[in-house]
Amino acid sequence: MTSHLPILQVVVPLIAAPLMVLLRHGGAAWLLAVGVSWTSLVVALALLAEVSGGGLISYALGNWPPPWGIEYRVDAVNAYLALIVSVIAAVVAVYMRRSVEAEVPRERHYLFYTMYALCLAGLLGISVTGDAFNLFVFLEISSLSTYVLIALGRDRRALMAGYQYLIMGTIGATFFVIGVGLLYLETGTLNLADMAARLPRVTDTRPVLAALAFITVGISLKLALFPLHLWLPNAYAYAPSAVTAFLAATATKVSVYVLLRFYYSVFGGSTVFEALPMAEILLVFSLAAMFIASTVAVFQNDVKRMFAYSSVAQIGYITLGVSLASATGLTAGLVHVFNHALTKGALFLLLGGIALRIGAVRFEAIGGIGRAMPFTSFGIVLGGLSLIGVPATVGFVSKWYLVLAALERGAWWIAFAVVTSSLLAVVYVWRFVEVAYFREPDARVSALREAPASMLVPAWLLIAACVYFGLDTGITVGGAGAAAMELLRGAR
């Protein structure tokens, strides 16, 4: 059975989705969702164990040899990413029951879980596939389900947020298809590895350059890279709490992977990549994201929206690591993919607890919440510390490696920028601390009970992981380092 691991990773949640529609029962669908999420986690761990040490698994779907058939291709990079997605999925799946009951009308529960399973399957499918067009198909599965999940939010603005994301996301996906089309017309193949092997032989590089541009812009739209992030704050702010946590922790991370996969494993082998100042462009946008989005975050009235802008800024750190284009830089970026997934996942899960009790997470409504919901609030503070990058949290680890990578290149000013932008994070995290602990709770807030254990425990698991991996960096940095080496190997 182990030889079927790559396909099981995707097909288990994929088959669960129609089963949920047939069951037509919210509770049963939830049980199924938890089951497939944990199965995915087990499969992802097994996959990572198989490929650690530089292994490569190739799985020919339909038993047609690639490039004629579709290939699943798992190496250290995919396995690392699939693990991140399934860890978050496993935690969120347990958590979402209570949250969904409060935020989604009962008759839509089973459809909510169906969409969740589809989104999970889509993201995992993107992670493990070795075929450019198959990647697009799974990108669409995850995107379409995401639009619905966002629009199921309680506020009517969720509908508009879903619609805007649909427009932006589809433009992004179409850009991506155009890019893939140009590459296909130049190489005659859709298999990524085959494409990489044939690209250096291409005589006319103009289509390749155009493809690089289209794929970069298209994926940047999905990635919410500044200034293409406009859909993200509304989508995160108005989506149901569990959805926000899941998306913030996984969807943008998977897009980062797609970008890296194309840059290093497809374009990397040809000389085209060096011809364009991609690294410099990425650097500028990353820095802009870090500063501008953090500044905007400071001025938000809604805690969820504030952390949404913070996400845009944190994506900047990830792409900054990528733009440094060295082993350390890539490792920093990839470590931050994992670390930020943990941190933001935890933060949004905890905010979901507040939303369950109050219904909204606006600053004026939660004054003094630190006393009414001590565990939730303290968790948010710890998560905030990790966002800032305080030592003994995962955030520190990523920033440490970013600074190292910057200094390695002799770019002390980038290191300086990383540190200064963290100060902005201090400001917005402090706003929460101030409101939660230094204001007198009004009657409504004092009457609140702590969030239910089924929500608190998963969230705290992630917070605990934030601290644990902040102290013991062996696993995360090891995994990210192996992935970075794998990517750079393809570029040579």
């Binding site: 067009f133 619609y163 649909l166 427009i167």
Partner: protein, 119 residues
């Protein structure tokens, strides 16, 4: 490398520009979706046109033909069409709900309503 031998691509380019323009510039939610659909159809030609061989025939194997046009782009675009209509259906469902919630399908009006409520 002359422009005439690439005429098939010019249709793609024109449709892509037109579709994208409608999506970004227009404020009507239905019209945006139509623009999006046109933008997506431009991709069909990008894939299909180069697959055609003059003197070739549709890729259904029969004894009397030797040259066939390339079937792979056809398969890919079949998938793309399906994705397109799926997106359209979902987008329209959202528009219907937006209309029920806001009483409008103009982007400006809706955003104004939200801003008024926020203040």
């Amino acid at each position: 490398m002359n422009i005439a031998s690439h005429y098939s691509y010019w249709a793609t380019i024109f449709l892509a520009i037109g579709g994208l323009y409608i999506v970004i510039a227009r404020g009507n939610l239905v019209k945006k979706l139509i623009g999006l659909a046109i933008f997506q159809t431009s991709v069909y030609l990008l894939y299909i046109a180069p697959g055609k061989l003059i003197g070739g025939t549709a890729p259904i194997v029969a004894e009397q033909f030797q040259v066939y046009s390339n079937p792979l782009p056809h398969v890919l675009i079949l998938t793309a069409i399906v994705v397109g209509v799926a997106t359209l259906a979902l987008g329209l469902a959202l528009v219907v709900r937006i209309r029920e919630a806001y009483g409008s399908i103009e982007e400006d009006e809706i955003l104004t309503q939200d801003r008024d409520r926020a203040n």
